[in-house]
């Protein structure tokens, strides 16, 4: 993307970072020996449920939490012991926290003034930031005269104005309503491209993460579960947690019957059908494994004689607008979820209690680690 500006070292390098909140009887491990690198000019997202440690990690990068063990590097330099005001990293906090006694202009100019930039530069830089967020005409307003979305944009401009090397965003969209949130996603992505600043975005909203990020780190229980692009994470989840947290997943039990270099042949517990799945992890013959398939990859039809199909009964139907979600109980008692698009030529509608055949395309199956 921006190869001529590439740096020898990553923007942020997290090196075996551990965070333990001390307590007399119940010390809490918020982060457990985490290591990964965030590239220069990347839109990187930390995604996970609340309490997974994503915000703690963000606050550690910003300098608001101490590090129990390990190191955080910014372009190769250890910044672990620097105060927040000594790090060329700015944060957009979840609460916008605009300074109420300052105007919009003074809010945005705050960081530049503290850095001791000259008046002329402060003025042009602040004005260009207000231009960037399309708030130039609001420069003299006080924060309480702005709407939530406008306050959010000013908070963003305020953090961007000092031209930080890395911008941290702590669930900045969670307080906005749906329409505004969707619009802001586009805008954030756009601003990241325009400014070329590395963004580290924290969210628990998988849709937000999938639509905006160059790469995503899925976190849970103080550990990174998987790092990859949106497609990697949705299409090739490495374990149960990632499969279930990002989108919906059907997990089927199977037994390995043959393990090759690039593929595994397994027998589904549900109907004894044989499936071959691409996988570079080798398995022992006879080992029990879990295989995952996304609901929209499953095909549901009226009962058929085809051997590869599983048979079941429709237990529930939910209409979701663009899709219909079907809950099917398979003959062996396992329950799976399937989604069908509501197209005009969908054929005869299915009803609750209908006997159906469930076709699982082999190429859509994934092997999950536990």
């Amino acid at each position: 993307m921006n190869t001529n500006k590439s740096f020898p070292s990553p923007a942020i390098d997290i090196v075996s970072v551990t965070k333990i909140y001390p307590h007399r009887t119940h010390p809490v491990t918020a982060l457990n020996d985490i290591s990964f690198a965030i590239k220069d000019n990347e839109f990187f997202t930390l995604l996970g449920p609340s309490g997974c440690g994503k915000t703690t990690l963000l606050r550690m990068i910003g300098g608001f939490e101490g590090i129990t063990k390990g190191q955080i590097q910014l372009y190769g330099e250890d910044i672990s012991t620097l105060q927040p005001n000594q790090r060329p990293i700015n944060t957009v906090f979840q609460q916008y926290a605009l300074f109420p006694h300052f105007t919009v202009f003074e809010n945005v100019a705050f960081g530049l003034k503290r850095l001791g930039r000259d008046q002329a530069f402060i003025k042009t830089q602040t004005e260009s930031m207000l231009e960037l967020i399309r708030m130039a005409e609001f420069a003299d307003r006080k924060p309480n005269q702005l709407s939530g979305g406008q306050q959010q944009r000013v908070a963003l401009a305020r953090a961007l104005a000092p031209q930080p090397k890395v911008l941290l965003l702590d669930e900045p969209l969670s307080a906005l309503d749906l329409k505004l949130r969707q619009a802001m996603r586009e805008e954030l992505k756009d601003i990241q491209k325009k400014t070329g600043i590395t963004f580290i975005f924290v969210t628990h909203d998988q849709e937000e993460a999938l639509t905006m990020s160059d790469r995503i780190a899925v976190m849970s229980n103080g550990e990174v579960q998987q790092i990859g692009t949106a497609t990697d994470i949705y299409d090739h989840p490495v374990n149960h947690f990632v499969a279930n947290f990002i989108g919906e997943a059907n997990i089927l039990k199977a037994k390995v019957s043959k393990s090759d270099k690039n593929s595994i042949t397994a027998i589904l517990a549900a109907n004894g059908g044989k499936v071959t799945i691409t996988s570079d992890v080798s398995m022992k013959k006879g080992q029990n494994i879990s295989v995952m398939i996304r609901p929209e990859r499953i095909q549901i039809g009226k009962i058929s004689r085809a051997k590869s199909a599983l048979n079941g009964v429709i237990q529930g139907i939910s209409y979701l607008g663009t899709d219909t979600q079907l809950q099917v109980i398979l003959d062996d008692g396992e329950s799976i979820i399937a989604r069908q698009q509501n197209s005009i030529d969908a054929g005869t509608p299915l009803n609750k209690g209908d006997k159906v055949s469930v076709t699982i395309p082999q190429h859509a199956l994934r092997v999950l680690a536990d």
């Binding site: 910003g62 300098g63 608001f64 105060q83 927040p84 005001n85 990293i89 700015n90 944060t91 906090f93 609460q95 926290a97 300074f99 109420p100 006694h101 705050f110 960081g111 503290r114 850095l115 006080k142 309480n144 305020r158 953090a159 000092p162």
Partner: protein, 270 residues
């Protein structure tokens, strides 16, 4: 739908009780104000409207004494309010923004305890304290006593204000390259200011009208306005006392009004 404030008017007797309370509270004050304009030395018989007692306050035989007492009262109230507000601000910062420390709950209790101790007990204790360390009683002893008992009054609005300021504002300032000192000066202090001002005004009023403690710790010949008024009343109530009372009432009313508008200004800023 009917909201709670509408519904309460429906309780039988609510209006009557409310009116009775208002009358008991304000009727004596209104009578004092009216009779301060009475053209007669009587405090009960109305003889016509006049400013004669206000003239008496400023030019009469007791004028000098009241003037000196007012000056003393103002010096003490201003100094006590400034000092106690500074101490209260520092302790609010330590209690609310500082690290947790052992005995924090007890410290909170100690700061606010003077509000619950009967004033006469504080007065006697302070007198004994000054006597035992051989401290000369005069304007300084009054000032010290006032500073001490004004602290909890100044503390309450300041602490309430500080508690309402999320600490994310300070984090944002630190994040935007402000040192801890700049963060306090540029962000936290201006945001606390409405609370600090109402704390100051409350301390000022409390100091200005304190009688019991002042009366115990003042030296002979040193008077504040309340002790001077009490001294004058002992020789019989003359309408000039009503004139002074009315003046004090107006001054207090103005201050409270200012405090109200300041705190409202602060709320709007949020």
């Amino acid at each position: 739908m009917i909201n709670a404030s509408e519904r309460i008017r429906w309780y039988p007797g609510f209006r009557e009780i409310a009116l009775l309370c208002l009358v008991i509270l304000y009727a004596p004050l209104i009578i004092v104000m009216i009779y301060s304009f009475n053209d007669s030395p009587s405090i009960t018989v109305w003889k016509g409207f006049s400013f004669v007692w206000y003239e008496e306050v400023f030019t009469g035989p007791e004028a000098e004494r009241f003037k000196q007492a007012t000056v003393n009262s103002l010096i003490i109230a201003v100094s006590a309010a400034i000092t106690s507000t500074a101490i209260a601000t520092a302790s609010a910062l330590a209690m609310i923004r500082g690290r947790r420390f052992r005995g924090q709950a007890m410290t909170f209790g100690l700061i606010n305890l003077p509000l619950m101790v009967p004033e006469i007990v504080t007065a006697v204790a302070t007198l004994i304290f000054f006597a035992s360390i051989g401290f000369d009683r005069g304007i300084l002893s009054i000032l010290l006593a006032h500073i001490v008992f004004c602290i909890p009054f100044a503390y309450l609005p300041i602490a309430a204000r500080l508690q309402g300021i999320a600490n994310v504002y300070e984090q944002v300032a630190r994040d935007l390259y402000a040192t801890p000192g700049q963060t306090f000066r540029l962000i936290l202090f201006p945001m606390m200011l409405p609370g600090i001002l109402s704390g100051f005004l409350l301390a000022f009023i409390i100091s200005l009208d304190d009688f019991i403690i002042t009366n115990f710790v003042k030296g002979a010949g040193v008077e504040t306005l309340p002790t001077a008024i009490f001294g004058a009343v002992k020789q019989g109530i003359k309408p000039n006392i009503m004139a002074i009372s009315t003046l004090m009432l107006v001054a207090s009313f103005l201050l409270v009004t200012i405090a109200y508008f300041i705190s409202r200004m602060g709320d709007q800023r949020k």
